[in-house]
């Protein structure tokens, strides 16, 4: 592969994820019946929500050279907390409380990583175990079903099933907002530059006058915030808040989406739109298999191969 001109190589890498997505869309439009049905497209949007939301936060975190494997557990805590508080204080205040709690958790991670210079992976691993336990203790070992919560339960269920104008699923709002927020942050603001600088070299960015601790607090706070919303929307969609299963493996899906999108694990760069493409590819693989009656177990193997290949093609950027 070294014989290729470097520019060609670069171009291949830059557009490989998008090209892969295009291949999937083409394949599906040719071979999958009903692919372009509205129902199907809106299903994609609703199913992709947690990956995109967590993926946006994860993109920022990974671009600082860290990792946040607690997002799945944060999703569970936020979902369960909302469901738990909802009947007493109403939907919006409950969501607000869940989000604030999550932000505090994120800031805690940021302080531990920034101030005590502990590895992000260990801190978030501890949080992942601990918060999963908190979520399970909160719901008392039983799943909270929304249809048993009365009017507030139905109100929150709307967050998962409402269609704007009868067509667009309501999940479009968090997706668009989070992507726009992350894109503007990374591409257009000083803070975005600083985040990537911290990922490149924490020491030199500190010497250059960047307040690394507050930058990291912000980044992990945003990651937890988005994870909290992902948890609320996900539980609203399935109409149940389950401490044990809500957001399980969400962190791994998000990491995969980020890496397929071309953000290197070593930090220093953030490709926000790449992550969106990565999340779409992950969803496309599942969808292609489901709609063509390929059993789920084969889909899993297929997914693994695609992830490895996508990352392999882009690894030049990661070095």
């Amino acid at each position: 592969m070294n014989k290729l001109r470097p520019e060609t190589m670069e171009r291949v890498q830059k557009y490989s994820a998008a090209a892969l997505l295009l291949v999937f869309v083409l394949f599906n439009s040719l071979f999958t019946p009903n692919f372009f049905k509205l129902q199907n497209l809106s299903n994609i949007l609703t199913q992709i929500t947690p990956i995109v939301l967590c993926g946006m936060g994860m993109t920022l975190v990974i671009s600082t050279g860290g990792i946040d494997i607690s997002v799945g557990a944060v999703m569970a805590v936020a979902g369960v907390l909302t469901a738990k508080l909802m009947p007493d204080i109403g939907v919006l205040p409950a969501v607000l409380v869940a989000v604030v709690v999550s932000i505090l958790i994120g800031c805690f991670t940021g302080i531990m990583v920034g101030k005590l210079r502990l590895q992000a992976m260990v801190i978030t691993l501890g949080l992942m175990l601990g918060l999963r336990g908190v979520a399970q203790v909160l719901c008392g070992g039983r799943d909270i079903y929304f249809n048993k919560l009365g009017p507030t339960g139905e109100q929150l269920a709307q967050w998962g099933s409402y269609k704007i104008g009868g067509v667009l699923p309501v999940q479009v709002i968090p997706i668009v907002l989070s992507v726009a927020f992350a894109w503007v942050l990374v591409e257009k603001t000083v803070l975005g530059r600083q985040i990537q600088a911290v990922g490149d070299s924490p020491k030199s960015s500190r010497l250059a006058g960047i307040r690394t601790v507050s930058t990291l607090m912000f980044v992990y706070g945003v990651s937890a915030l988005l994870a909290a919303f992902a948890g609320v929307f996900q539980s609203a969609k399935v109409m149940v808040a389950a401490g044990s299963s809500l957001g399980q493996m969400a962190e791994l899906d998000a990491i995969a989406a980020v890496v397929i999108g071309g953000t290197p694990m070593t930090g220093g760069r953030a490709h926000v739109l790449g992550t969106v493409v990565g999340a779409l590819i992950m969803q496309m693989i599942t969808l292609t298999c489901v709609m063509n009656n390929i059993p789920d177990q084969y889909a899993q193997v297929f997914k693994a191969i695609i992830i490895v290949l996508a990352v392999f093609i882009q690894r030049g950027k990661a070095r």
Binding site: G126, L129, M265, I307
Partner: protein
């Protein structure tokens, strides 16, 4: 004057011990406190201890030892839980033709998966996070492809791990102790020997400490990483084979999210997750601490949710890495050094 000097020296040694042996100290503290608080439950009795060790050997204690190899090299292996499950299933399926062939195939699962991850990490230069994550997805899929329900393990060869040894030697264990317990110790000692007395073991610390420097010193970084992944896979497969063999069936969902627990045990055991620092003995004490807490929860009244266990484990991980934090150690060093050297 001399006395004061001596006193200072002792203090320094004690504080040094506190930092380097924090895992063992935590372990001892836990044992003492538990045996006092739960003195009615005969916590320190031999059957109870053996029961705890057996639980550790069956439920993924081995995985933490395997994980230590990979973490020492500065990498991570998320696939161990899936290897754990697949090896038992493969052993059961292939063991129908010939039991020894079955055992071999079970262990081969780990070797092959380790080789594949090693290849992806070193030759394709994919981050081990992604490579082993992909392996996790793929192997969980393969498990469901090769078997549709849990596989029965039969025959005297395949159920070898159900055997018990030393009947009547230990008090209260007239039936003997399970063969899994000595195996856990043997594997631990083997790992300790490998890490201290072989080129491979020394190489792991060099690679994990500073990969670039290790390369310049002429260490074959790629070979060592591949070996570490194979070791991790092999131990995970061994563990899965032992569990299936001792329980008489291989469950498809076995070892689900055990990789998380394995990493937590390593972290509690003082294995530094960025690589290059840590000991297998530490990981072993991490395993013990984990399963002591696990045992304590069987003593508690049923009103207390078992999910508190998860919270406590999370807190333990945070505390154990907090104690080992570089920033805290730096503060400690700064106090010792002269002021003008203290800055960083």
């Amino acid at each position: 004057m001399r006395g004061a000097e001596k006193m200072k020296k002792t203090l320094k040694t004690v504080s040094g011990l506190f930092y380097s042996k924090s895992t063992i100290l935590a372990f001892l503290l836990l044992v003492v406190v538990t045996s006092i608080v739960f003195r009615d439950q005969n916590f320190l009795s031999v059957p109870n201890m053996m029961n705890m060790l057996l639980k550790a050997a069956k439920n993924g204690g081995f995985l933490a030892l395997g994980m230590t190899f990979v973490i020492l090299c500065g990498e991570i292996d998320l696939s161990v839980g899936a290897v754990f499950a697949l090896s038992g299933v493969v052993m059961g399926l292939t063991g129908r033709f010939n039991p020894f062939f079955g055992l071999l195939c079970g262990l081969l699962v780990g070797v092959v998966s380790g080789l594949m991850i090693g290849f992806m990490v070193t030759k394709m230069r994919i981050s081990s996070w992604i490579a082993s994550l992909a392996m996790l997805f793929a192997l969980r899929g393969v498990i469901l492809i090769v078997a549709d329900k849990s596989v029965v393990i039969e025959g005297s060869v395949l159920t070898f791990a159900g055997a018990k040894i030393l009947p009547g030697v230990l008090p209260g264990m007239s039936g003997g102790i399970s063969i899994l317990i000595p195996l856990l110790f043997i594997v631990t000692f083997l790992c300790m020997y490998l890490s201290r007395h072989t080129r491979f073991g020394m190489g792991m610390y060099a690679v994990g400490g500073n990969g670039e420097a290790a390369r310049m010193m002429g260490i074959n970084v790629e070979k060592i990483k591949i070996k570490a992944f194979v070791a991790s896979g092999l131990i995970a497969a061994l563990s899965g084979v032992l569990l299936a063999s001792s329980s008489g069936s291989a469950t498809l969902s076995a070892g689900n999210i055990y990789e998380t627990y394995a990493i937590a045990m390593c972290a509690i055991g003082g294995v530094k997750l960025s690589g290059g620092e840590g000991k297998f003995s530490g990981a072993f004490f991490g395993i013990l601490i984990y399963f002591i807490i696990n045992t304590i929860f069987t003593y508690l009244p049923s009103g207390i949710s078992v999910h508190w266990q998860s919270i406590i484990m999370g807190a333990l991980v945070l505390i154990s890495v907090g104690v080992q934090s570089e920033a805290l150690q730096e503060i400690r060093l700064q106090k010792r050094r002269t002021p003008h050297k203290a800055g960083r």
